[in-house]
Amino acid sequence: MTHKLLTDQPGKTELMLGNEAIARGAIEAGLCVGATYPGTPSSEISLSLFQISQKTDLYFEYSTNEKVAMEVAAAASASGVRSMCIMKHVGLNVAADPLMTLAYVGVKAGMVILTADDPLMFSSQNEQDNRYYALLSGLPMLEPSSIDEARAMTKYAFELSEQLQEPVLLRTTTRINHSTGPVILDTILPINRQSHFTKNPFRLVTIPSVSRNLHVQLLENIKQAASLSEASPWNICTGIGKWGIICNGVSFNYVKDAISTLDISDKTRVLRIGFSHPLPVSMIQSFLKDCERVLIVEEGEPWLETQIKALAQEVGLTVSIKGKDNHLFSRLYEYDPAMVRSMIANYFNIPDVQPPVPDLSDLPEIPSRPPNLCAGCGHRATFYAVKQAAKTMDVEVIYPTDIGCYTLGVLPPLSMADYLICMGSSVGTSCGFSKVLDKKIVAFIGDSTFFHSGIPGLINAVFNQHQFTLVILDNGTTAMTGHQPHPGVDMTQWNLDGYTQISIEKMVRAIGVPHVSVVRPYQVKKSIDALKEAFAFKGVSVVIAQEPCALINKKRKKRAFQVTDQCKDHRVCINELACPAFYLESNHLKINPAQCVGCAVCAQICPENAIIPVKESQS
């Protein structure tokens, strides 16, 4: 069966997720090489392209991290084939090093860099505004407002990149990536695989004398980009009134809906900036000239606002321009339609229109539904074992952690997380903590995150002889973002060949870590013993806890456990493990057989041995 994104019927309308529309745009552009490190909210773009790569000439890879993904794409583009790299906003921090100098070197075939920002941090550690990367690097940037535009802009981004010989930043926010809407299919260009690399070291090797010239070229390219932006149909000016609104991305939708609800279309003109770097300077200045007052509606930082105020100053305009302000928009979180409408009403001094809402102050408190590690998750077993082993230490234990499902270990009753800043930070920060604190440091990192950016920290620890234990939680997948592969995964289990599996244990040993052990966390006592030894070791010790992710472990035969009359209600299981398969019935512990995967961890810690497998005949 062909992939749904390969439908070759130009003009047909299909319902697509924003991320699918972006993947479709890349396919329509004849994308030849794609690379990514998975990260929400961008993950489904890569999932779609990876699936399609099994069926077409597209090459798509899950790279070890975003920096590598960008380098893969850069080389492909330098060799004359269209390429794309896909990442979440913080991923661009990892790839910022290649980004900044790639802007100097430029590209040959079209290259698109997708950065997915996450205002309100639905699934991220910060809500940084990646539009600043366009200013920082000088690269052109496009920002869609709708799902169909996401498709069309992606396709156009490749053309723009070839025109300017620069990579193009395509910047989305979660509400583009994870919204669904109709998409009008366009023609699919064939994949041009004809690669050619022309040696030209005095243009492509960035030694200082070369880069001095390249920076001049970059500034020329920015100028050319500015003239393209000036004439770009992605910068849309509508309406005729004296009230001006300038906006970008999803805010444009909220503005349009507000103007219609407030019935002020005869008074208001709107400038939607879609080609947002470089800004269309003359267009903005003439827009400002026609307005009595201007409101800027942009989520995140005052990126447009700061630049637009400067542009007004250049032509001596004193029109009132406001955006982020104590009484108007915030730099925090995402916007929503009612908020934008009420700010517009407030700024232009007209009454807001909103439906009457009920008083909900007498609603009972509704218990929260926090996400939880799954029933039978190996991470839970490892956290338990670490906690037991830590109890035997005579000093306090500090737990730097990292990014993945296991970050959920921060919640009680596990409470196994003390410090986290970014991917790989568990290892690097452990080096610092162990140097300044008289405490035991035990860090957690997942397998995929270890490959992503944990390895340099571990090499640092061995070289500088730091003292801590690193627990590598190896569940054989990148679970949190939707079970993508990583270099430690055996790809033959998915019937995919052409991959070499890398052993985490061999690598850790090769780095020279003096104390390495491998445990199966479902074996509770053995794991605790191995952890105790590792904790007592003076120097760097690594414990690799191997248990495949319970959500995708096909090999494991599930056999549920049950609670017998032996139960004396100690509730050690509930209080220490809090597995979601547990529930209380008439104040007695029960195990939901539909959820239990039979890890038997609770059975091993029950002081009365009251938890036993359900007999075959019972189930």
Binding site: R175, G181, P337, Q354, V357, E365, L584
Partner: protein, 197 residues
Amino acid sequence: MKTTRLIIVAVGGQGNLLASKILGEAAMAANIRVGMSEIHGMAQRGGVVESALIFGDADSTIISDGEADILLGFEPSETLRALKKCHSRSWVITNMEPLPPFTVNIGKGEYPDLKQVEPLIKKKTDRLFSLNATDLARQAGNILSVNVVLLGALSATKALPLTKEHMQNAIRKTVKKAFIDINLKAFEFGEKAINKG
């Protein structure tokens, strides 16, 4: 065309996203403009899944507090939690079968009194339609069809600008072949529960 805003709330695993997809496809087939969004970051790990569907003339794909015209709740406590999305004239359609959060299951939280759910919603909004969609799904032959039972109920209220046929066709187009019959039956059960009620 008039805009109708629908919020669907469910617990991870209840099939909210498939229900949204069916409604989206039905709107496409009916030539009705539709925009949707979803928040499902940690759904597989027991969290809440919320979808917003906007039919008619609007460009936004999310719904602000107090602006949903219809609330379709897959679980009573989640319906209560999502009442802040409603205005005084909203219609609420809710499954009454509780799926207590894990914290409640292990005695570390209190589930709201089920008997109070309906009177509370009635007091706050214009109309309430409640049913035990989980029971009906079981009767239809698969408890997983609870999402489609609720679509049947939604269809019966005629709150959306979509016909029954559009929805049924979208079910045929969207669900796996082997489950089409069970789902059509589930749809019918949901519809009947409202029409009888």
